[in-house]
């Protein structure tokens, strides 16, 4: 009871605090932390669900009204949560180490970017861009295209394990990026390194601003992805994937059709990335191959590992922590330091204004990230929320 009151109070206070200090990074971090607390606190299930729903459906858009950048962060978090959940199927459940995952994101993004922009006129003559509502159709097209790409990647790598698989998928990721970079000749499909713009956006319903619109759309997709993920995990398909991860030979001998299950893992994982790719291209209006580098694949993999391999809450939290760290904490720290510098503050007789720009925290994004990963691997290698085995209720044996 006390804990329930405390939890509600924490969420309300932190949300109010964000409204009061819309520019404070720490206060927004407190709000995010309160959501994690809600998830972990020992409170009735209905309270947990309604608190999370209120926070995500009402408070977060309201916060976006005070500071639009926070809504952008939340949207980005959602995109990466979906990517991490997709990769979690391939790496966490089926145990197939995929270092080129962002390729599927790229496939989804380019599928809408090409047809949703005037660029398609170069290939097919006139008639483009497609009307905004086609975007919803393309969410499915992106899903399908990415799933097929996943199967195409899966076919040649069926016999590979571990390190070998990792290297081939890494190569595959690079192939897709290089294709995007170079498919501007002889027929201009991707417009090469210049990228494609402007990409159409769907008409937003109820006159919602695009920030809010994409936030809600991402939230909707993330909820769908979580449900799909959970249902897969709690089915014979999920068990077959885990069996393959644990012991491929034994899994085959127990009747798991290896080829079908591996291809299904690649296709399912890829499809989530495909959907988010379509959304990403519409949200950004502009995409180029730079958004789909190897570093992005590694980033998503790090989210999965940081959160806990094979764990859905882990993937969600991992994606959130990494994205918030990149977009909010380190950037916010840089801004704060800059303000101190401009104000001419001195520390122990040393003027911060003399601090060289190389010391800007935002430039240390990858290093801080690396240090966190190393520390995690030493002190909590199983991840923040490791996968927990489902405990089944045991009925009396009846047959």
């Amino acid at each position: 009871m006390i804990q329930a009151l405390l939890t509600v109070a924490l969420v309300v206070v932190s949300a109010l605090a964000v409204a009061k200090f819309p520019r404070s990074v720490l206060v927004f971090l407190l709000f995010q932390g309160s959501l994690v607390f809600v998830y972990r606190a020992q409170i009735p299930e209905w309270l947990r669900r309604s608190l999370l729903a209120v926070a995500l459906l009402v408070l977060m858009p309201a916060i976006g009204y005070f500071n639009g950048y926070y809504l952008e962060i939340a949207t980005q978090v959602g995109i990466f949560v979906a990517l991490a959940l997709g990769l979690n199927i391939v790496v966490g459940l089926a145990g197939l180490l995929d270092l080129g995952y962002v390729a599927f994101f790229a496939v989804g993004a380019y599928s809408w970017a090409i047809f949703g922009s005037p660029h398609a006129n170069v290939i097919f003559g006139g008639g483009f861009p497609l009307a905004g509502w086609w975007f919803y159709v393309f969410l499915l097209v992106g899903l399908g295209t990415a799933a097929i790409t996943g199967i195409l990647l899966g076919l040649p790598v069926l016999r590979l394990h571990g390190d070998y698989l990792a290297i081939v998928t890494l190569g595959f990721g690079e192939v897709i990026r290089v294709l995007a970079n170079n498919l501007d000749k002889p027929i201009n499909f991707t417009n090469g390194p210049k990228g494609i713009t402007p990409i159409s956006r769907p008409p937003a319903p109820f006159g919602l601003p695009y920030g809010e619109y994409f936030y809600f759309l991402v939230l909707l997709i993330v909820v769908a992805v979580v449900i799909v993920n959970r249902r897969l995990e709690d089915s014979h398909i999920g068990r077959a994937w885990e069996a393959i991860r644990e012991d491929e030979l034994a899994a085959r001998a127990m009747g798991v059709p290896l080829v079908r299950m591996k291809l299904m893992a690649f296709a399912c994982g890829a499809s989530f990335a495909g959907v988010m790719g379509v959304l990403f291209s519409a949200k950004q209006v502009f995409i180029n191959p730079e958004s789909f580098t190897f570093l992005e694949s590694i980033g998503v993999l790090a989210m999965v590992i940081l959160g806990g391999m094979g764990s859905i809450p882990g993937a969600v939290l991992g994606a959130t922590v990494v994205t918030v760290l990149n977009l909010q904490v380190l950037k916010g720290f840089s801004l704060w330091l800059n303000e101190l510098k401009n104000a001419g503050v001195t520390v122990l007789g040393y003027s911060l204004a003399d601090l060289p720009t190389q010391f800007e925290p935002a430039k240390y994004e990858r290093m801080v990230f690396g240090v966190i990963l190393v520390l995690m691997m030493i002190f909590r290698p199983q991840g923040i929320f490791p996968a927990r085995r489902r405990q089944r209720e045991l009925a009396q044996p009846g047959g």
Binding site: H236, I237, R239, A243, D247, G255, L258, R390
Partner: protein
């Protein structure tokens, strides 16, 4: 026609002939395959279950040729096995291990899973109930939610048996099921196997080193040595066969190859 029949099965690894024209047939009951280490017993199992491709010969199950089928297809036909060095899905619970064994009996598609269709929910609860029943049969129902790698050695062996039974096999291949067990545990296990044969009409092929178990439980015994069948018959006949004694104890003056286990 026999339930299970292998004819002149040959397997070579490079220059080594692991199996040389082995014939084997089983109608019902329990047949044991014995022989010194390296005689080719496990290789034979791997061929029967589709993990290895034979170089020559034929294997049929209920008249259907098995060679060339994938392991999961063979399991779906009704042959399942355990492994000499236990190969459980270590990070999954006992009941989940058993549920994986039922994979070939599940006729649900991706859409059933995603939509949580009625048939999906019914199937899942049926499977869980059956899994509990199987765990009960091998005496592990109290450990259903235990992670496999945390189980004691004997329990892991029995869990592997339950997992193999989950595939509803008509023929069960057990690779040294009593290895590492005390004589008492081995006796319990053998009573369990006898019960399976009696209740479910299972046929069992047993690879076994524990001679007391072999002689007690087997209807027929096949002896392999150096990849060749050197004897076959009732336990008593095999026990008195001169070539078998030679293979196990060596001829007069030769080294005691394989004697340790005999």
């Amino acid at each position: 026609m026999s339930l299970f029949e292998a004819r002149s099965v040959t397997k070579r690894f490079g220059g080594l002939t692991a199996l040389h024209g082995v014939d084997f047939a089983l109608e019902r009951g329990i047949a044991s395959i014995i022989g010194p280490n390296g005689a080719g017993k496990t290789t034979l199992f791997n061929i029967f279950t589709g993990l290895y491709a034979a170089d020559d010969g034929s294997v049929t199950f209920r008249g259907q040729p098995l060679l060339g089928l994938r392991p999961d297809q063979i399991t779906a036909l009704g042959i399942c096995r355990t492994f000499q060095n236990i190969r459980l899905f270590s990070n999954m619970t006992a009941i989940e291990n058993v549920l994986v064994g039922m994979n070939s009996r599940i006729a649900l598609g991706l859409w059933d899973v995603l939509s949580h269709s009625r048939s999906f929910r019914r199937t899942e609860s049926d499977l869980a109930a059956r899994a509990i029943g199987l765990l009960d049969r091998v005496g592990l129902q109290a450990n259903a939610n235990a992670v496999a790698r945390n189980l004691p050695y004997g329990d892991r062996r029995r869990l592997e048996l339950a997992r193999a039974l989950a595939a509803e096999p008509a023929l069960l291949l057990l690779d040294e099921p009593t290895a590492g067990m005390t004589q008492g545990e081995a006796g319990t296990l053998m009573r369990l196997l006898r019960g399976l044969v009696a209740d479910l009409g299972l046929a069992i092929i047993l690879i076994e080193h524990n001679m007391r178990v072999v002689m007690e439980v087997s209807d027929r015994v096949t002896v392999l040595d150096h990849g060749e069948k050197i004897a076959e018959g009732s336990p008593r006949e095999v026990q008195e066969n001169v070539r078998v004694i030679e293979a196990y104890l060596g001829t007069r003056g030769a080294g005691p190859r394989g004697a340790r286990r005999a």
